[in-house]
């Protein structure tokens, strides 16, 4: 029996008396949420910094009853709970298209490198391009990202050197890039643990008087971790300028979403914390950009954190080491290929005359060149200095580490001499 057929977690909205599933379209605030935030009859002592009483996100705190959408599967412009979100500018959409094409090519190349043994592992993001790229295009260069292992494509979209991004799976003990120079925290593997770093960081930046927004990444499975809860709660209490992006790709390795939650949508998880929340079609780049543009602006304006659930799908296995046929059907994968984020945006951009055959061909060429350059640079074995093992345990190594360093050095020298 698969978990998917057990039926738990399927649309619970409406079971209880005042489930907000019937929120009126057009951005009217939901009564419950407003009642909670506007009752000032017994003022509480202020904590610092205090969250504003009014949180003017799309529908107060409550996400749309269905994922916000701008483009349907064929790339036709539709109206699905998107009234509150300005359509992204044409340049942003074209930039997203290019970055998605290059991003996918990077991702496919990285998967190939993993299969060839050049990388120890690679968690692919093919199929999640709208989220990976859309997230980064909505940040300004001074904002910070707090990504996971899944988000290498996002870092490439941010402009990080792909070789640096792949340094850890290539065999180094570190993240490969300079987090400060790239305004990007090291990719986190322990699930959901870096979300609270994003919160502390964003709150710290706010306290320092800097207008920085932090975007924190998590998967559907990661939302079950306690750290997800603590991060959202701290973010709300300290009114931290954080945007939480949940890429719900329906699986945590093999475990389906129904085993993670019984909530009507992961987007609903923000409400209980007092966090403005939304759900979006994560394969619709226009919708992702529209919602995240607004979320980032909301956070930057000091109006508090935002939680966005993006419904998407990873077309590849969890990593190159995973056999996805053990838990999902090829029919299911086919179904998601029909909702491909790149073909969808491309169709619309062509329709609007924003791109043409020449642009598409040039973009494809750019992506090929990117992959070729990556291949060439990754064909060189990573040089790791054995002595670097001791360099960054502490700022100043302890006497014990110095002893161990000397031992390893002597061993290596003896080995060298006996060659």
């Amino acid at each position: 029996m698969s978990d998917r057929s057990s039926g738990t977690g399927v649309h619970r909205a409406g079971v209880f008396a005042r489930a907000p599933a019937q929120a009126p379209a057009g951005g009217a605030h939901t009564l419950e949420a407003d009642a909670l935030t506007t009752d000032t009859s017994t003022p509480l002592p202020q904590t610092v910094p205090s969250p504003p009483a009014d949180r003017p996100f799309a529908r107060g705190l409550v996400p749309a009853p269905m994922p916000v959408q701008f483009l349907d599967d064929q790339g036709h412009r539709v109206q699905v709970f998107n009234d509150d979100y300005p359509e992204p500018a044409a340049e942003q959409l074209v930039a997203a298209y290019s970055a998605m094409v290059v991003g996918r090519r990077f991702d496919v190349q990285a998967t190939a490198l993993a299969k060839q043994g050049r990388l120890a592992v690679y968690p692919a993001a093919r199929g999640q391009e709208a989220c990976q790229v859309g997230s980064m295009l909505t940040l300004s260069k001074d904002d910070w990202a707090f990504p996971t292992y899944r988000d290498s494509m996002a870092l490439v979209a941010r402009g990080l050197d792909p070789v640096e991004v792949l340094t850890s799976p290539h065999g180094a003990a570190h993240c490969g890039y300079d987090p400060r120079a790239n305004r990007t925290a090291p990719q986190a593997t322990p699930l959901a643990t870096q979300l609270i770093h994003a919160v502390g960081f964003a709150s710290g930046e706010q306290r320092q008087g800097r207008p920085t927004v932090a975007m924190a990444f998590v998967g559907d499975g990661g939302t079950s971790e306690g750290d997800f809860h603590e991060a959202l709660n701290f973010a709300a209490v300290f009114n931290a300028p954080v945007v939480f992006l949940v890429q719900n790709n329906t699986y945590a390795i093999s475990t389906p979403l129904t085993r993670q939650t019984a909530a009507p949508s992961l987007g609903y998880k923000g409400i209980g914390y007092g966090i403005a929340s939304e759900q979006v079609d994560g394969n619709d780049a226009m919708a992702v950009l529209a919602v995240l543009n607004k979320a980032v602006a909301h956070a930057r304006a000091g109006q508090g954190p935002v939680l966005v659930e993006a419904h998407t799908y990873r077309l590849d296995a969890h990593t190159n080491a995973d056999d996805a046929t053990r838990y999902r059907s090829s029919a299911e994968v086919e179904d998601w290929i029909r909702r491909d984020p790149i073909t969808r945006l491309e169709a619309w951009l062509r329709q609007e005359g924003l791109i043409d055959d020449a642009f598409v061909a040039a973009t494809a060429q750019k992506a090929e060149a990117f992959a070729a350059d990556l291949r060439a640079r990754m064909s060189v074995d990573l040089v790791v200095d054995p002595m670097s093992l001791f360099d960054n345990v502490f700022g100043t190594p302890t006497p014990q580490l110095l002893e161990q360093r000397a031992m390893v050095q002597a061993e290596l020298e003896a080995e060298e001499a006996s060659r």
């Binding site: 610092v48 502390g200 964003a202 603590e230």
Partner: protein
């Protein structure tokens, strides 16, 4: 940001120049160290559970929120992983967070953040992101506390590369070690012996925001000199070792007491120099003995000073049980008697310590008797 005059003299006022340093409690010394550090550096912030208005359940942060304002000292939601993770982010944004875990056992929810992130960030970023965070943890027992309030968890932290682990045994050290911890570019687990919070002593004479703090990390202190046996202790057990040393004089033993002060970095030099001199060593700590810090110390001493030893290195540690109820904690905690019993076993006058010999064999462990005895 400017700091008001009140910030300097809340809690414990600085003594007038020329007067003798006044007596303060250890919690007062920690409070003063926090204030002086906060005055010296506006990036130092204090947060945790109930540390603001209340001043912490042990009143260690008494008056700090009032005097420094809610931006510098504030209460957080009740979530220890959250507090530590928030500190990681604050440190990345340029602050030097000093955070409080309310009780030792309540730091366990934060262990993931401490072991996977706090301890590793420097390494994971090639030294580009260091985390100057101090995690203050009231630890150990002897206060008649109920379950979950008296644990000693130093071994977990000492076992984790990337963490410095510090524990003061005196009022003066509480001040200087905390100042040094806050100045340190790396994360420090600062373990405060609960039962010493009310102990009295004097602050260093130059205690002030701009005091030059001489480094004591990795430098054990010889608290008492002796020639017959070395007691190695730290935190709450130093006092026990000192009492045992006094009592041992009655039996004619001259006991040296080494207070480690920092478990990481560990001061092999001072410990080994002392044992080379005395030839005998007993390690005393309150945490359960099995796989504890004492095991590490005993191993290090015999690795480095084997030829100076007249007897095996012994440990006097807590029992390998969950922390006992108040009425039985005296059975668990290393006391003077148990330390004296251990000293008595140190093969004085070449008398073999027979405690662990098989019952069937005579109190002699020469290889000859082993081979004759066959399978003991």
């Amino acid at each position: 940001m400017t700091v008001t005059a009140a910030a300097h003299d809340g809690g414990i006022p600085a003594p007038a120049p020329g007067t003798a340093p006044q007596q303060v409690t250890m919690s007062g010394a920690i409070n003063r160290a926090l204030r002086d550090a906060m005055t010296a550096d506006t990036d130092v912030v204090v947060f945790g559970e109930d540390v603001g208005t209340l001043g912490g359940v042990f009143r260690v942060t008494d008056g700090i929120a009032r005097d420094f304002g809610p931006d510098r000292c504030f209460d957080t939601p009740l979530a220890e992983a959250g507090i530590v993770g928030f500190a990681v982010g604050m440190a990345m944004a340029g602050f030097r967070p000093v955070i409080e875990m309310q009780f030792d056992a309540f730091a366990f929810p934060a262990f993931e953040q401490i072991a996977s992130h706090v301890a590793k960030m420097r390494n994971r970023t090639q030294g580009r992101v260091n985390l100057p965070i101090v995690i203050r943890i009231p630890f150990a027992g002897g206060i008649g506390g109920v379950e979950h309030h008296c644990d000693s968890s130093e071994a977990y932290y000492a076992h984790t590369p990337g963490l410095k682990v510090v524990t003061p045994a005196t009022v003066e050290d509480a001040y200087t070690l905390l100042r040094e911890a806050i100045n340190d570019p790396d994360p420090v687990i600062f373990m405060e012996p609960k039962r010493l919070y009310w102990s009295k002593g004097s602050l260093p004479e130059d205690a002030s925001p701009d005091a030059q703090i001489a480094s004591s990390f990795g430098r054990a202190a010889v608290r008492r000199e002796g020639i017959d046996v070395t007691l190695v202790a730290y935190g709450p057990s130093v006092d026990v070792a000192m009492q045992a040393a006094s009592a041992a004089m009655g039996s004619g033993w001259s006991v040296e007491v080494v207070d480690l002060r920092t478990l990481v970095p560990f001061d092999d030099q001072t410990v080994v120099a002392s044992v080379r001199k005395t030839g005998r060593c007993v390690v005393v700590h309150e945490a359960q003995g099995f796989a504890g810090v004492g095991a590490e110390i005993a191993a290090r001493v015999q690795e480095r000073a084997f030829h100076s030893l007249h007897a095996p290195v012994l440990r006097v540690a807590g029992l390998d049980i969950p922390y006992p109820p108040p009425k039985l904690e005296h059975l668990h905690l290393p006391g003077v008697e148990r330390v004296l019993d251990a000293i008595a076993r140190l093969q004085w006058d070449d008398q073999a310590d027979a405690l662990h010999l098989p019952e069937s064999s005579p109190a002699c462990d020469s290889p000859a008797s082993d081979s004759k005895g066959g399978a003991a």
